[in-house]
Amino acid sequence: MSANNCRAVKVISNKPLGLSSPGEEIVELKLEYPDWKPGWRAGQFVMIRPISWPLDLVWGRPFSICNADETSLTILFQVVGRGTARLLELKEGDEVNIWGPLGNFFSKPQNRPVLMLAGGMGIAPFCGYVDSHPQPENLKLFFAHRPPLENYPYKGISGKVDVEDIRETKPTDIPAIIARVEELVKEYADNDGLIVACGPTPFLKTIWNAANKYGADAELSLENRMACGVGACLGCVCKDGDDHHTQVCTTGPVFKANNLSLEG
């Protein structure tokens, strides 16, 4: 029998962070560690589908691995729709079917400055990234967010690396965010740094455009809608550098900016 990387694990805890507002909660879900060997890397994700889900929720849902150790695995999710609303109802001891670790991951260069660009829930993979990086002193985080900082697991990161955050409260805040992202991308391109980014598509497009403009070495993690998560359905594709459709779940979710087309 081949290794079975799909298993049912129990919920350890499931709690909204900070003063999350009803309907948009940001929630930390801790699950039993699914006993993966040899392990996982920051940037990879899992598909989860609670055992209690009825057939009207057909697909599992993809979430970045926020962090994991030998006993637990943590994901961070925001309630945005039908699936995440049901995830919020999970209680300690409930069973969740989980498959992973899936996809590729961010690189962790030695002796090179690294800029983490996180937009909203894009903060999730950087918790594990910071914790597993051998030289956190080389890391800087730029975090653009709408809900207040206490709704994110921000403390775990802010104590270890240089951080800068900007809160978007109204649409007119966006130009300032774009301008600062462009500035940072240019700075890291000039200093031969690496940029790792995760967040909503418009945020990633800004980074992708800037990375192309300044010739920056950038890795972008996409969040396309997924059905299988394992490369089988071809539902999650994006365009690669040669303009061919490629699966985000297996070729990505992390792509080098110059291997990706976010045009259109």
């Binding site: 081949s2 990387n5 057939l55 057909v58 697909w59 059905a227 394992v230 539902g235």
Partner: protein, 305 residues
């Protein structure tokens, strides 16, 4: 219970296969179960030349189902033969190729390319894709075209069984089933997806870039069962049933109405080990319902007097 069956000359250790387009090229699922424990796999639809498929978004979740408009994205038949097939344990796992083309001649040509491939156990011919403009659903709704395609594929398929995959989007499925049989098909598989649509009232846009897509999953199971039931009673060739199967009980329902084998499609997305579990549990379910053998159970539906 021994659940092995013979399907149009194919010896299957159990009647559980995976449906085209939902199981990739099989290799994607190696880490979730033992491929060789399945009755067989049907790989993603293949065309003569590589195809990019339709623009994004191409999938949407709907109540108890999903819509897809992938548009037969595939690397082309040569790449399949050279790169994918050699990695599959085809000596012990029947691998069925799923064929897509735009006219009968092209279907014939594609069959010719696959005919000599030792690793391909049978050809499943898709005349029913709702997501492509040419060679798609309109084609599969025309009985004369179905006969023509079956003839063209059969002529070039060498000794490989030819299975025609039918669309449920027709007025009378029995006419299409007979058309395939008349063209020399060795078996049928049904159903392909039902034509469907989903819209977003916030954005006032369709949920699929292609606007219309194919509905699959548990929502379509009653339609699929009905189609299989009608087709089984209209032709002599064996029928593979699919549409909405997620459990061994679902699979048994298709066998009961007369399917000799079944395929798991969207069920693979509920969990990547669904097909393995169904294959493992089928014999227990048949024992539980007191079937004497799988052959006795197949088609043993009792109709009201």
């Amino acid at each position: 219970m021994d659940v092995s069956i013979d399907f149009a000359g194919l010896k299957l250790k159990n009647p559980i296969l995976t449906a085209s387009g939902t199981f990739g090229f099989g290799l994607e699922f190696k880490r979730f179960g033992d491929l060789e424990s399945l009755g067989g796999i049907v790989v993603k639809g293949l065309s003569l030349k590589p195809r990019e498929g339709n623009p994004m978004p191409r999938i949407a979740e709907t109540p108890c189902g999903m819509l897809n408009a992938i548009g037969i994205q595939n690397p082309g038949v040569e790449e399949f033969i050279n790169k994918k097939l050699p990695k599959l344990p085809w000596k012990t796992l029947p691998v069925l190729a799923n064929l897509y083309a735009t006219d009968a001649a092209e279907f014939g040509e594609l069959a010719g390319v696959l005919a000599g491939e030792e690793g391909v156990a049978a050809l499943e011919v898709n005349v029913s894709c709702p997501n492509v403009k040419e060679g798609g659903i309109a084609f599969g709704q025309d009985p004369r075209q179905i006969t023509k395609v079956a003839e063209a594929v059969k002529k070039n398929a060498g000794n490989k069984p030819v299975i025609i995959k039918l669309s449920p989007n027709v007025t009378d499925i029995t006419v299409c089933a007979k058309a395939a049989e008349d063209g020399g098909a060795d078996g049928l598989s049904l159903i392909n997806t039902l034509s469907g649509m989903a819209v977003d009232i916030e954005r006032r846009t369709p949920r699929l870039a292609n606007v219309i897509g194919g509905l699959s999953g548990p929502a379509v199971k009653p339609v699929a069962l009905r189609c299989v039931y009608q087709a089984v009673n209209a032709v002599k060739i064996p029928v593979m049933g699919l549409g909405g199967i997620t459990t061994a009980e679902d699979a048994a329902e298709f066998l009961l109405v007369g399917a000799k084998a079944v395929q798991i499609g969207t069920g693979n997305f509920l969990s990547p080990d669904t097909a393995f579990k169904v294959a493992e549990e089928l014999s227990k379910v048949l024992e539980r319902v007191k079937a004497e053998s799988i052959d006795e159970f197949i088609g043993s539906l009792q109709l009201p007097k």
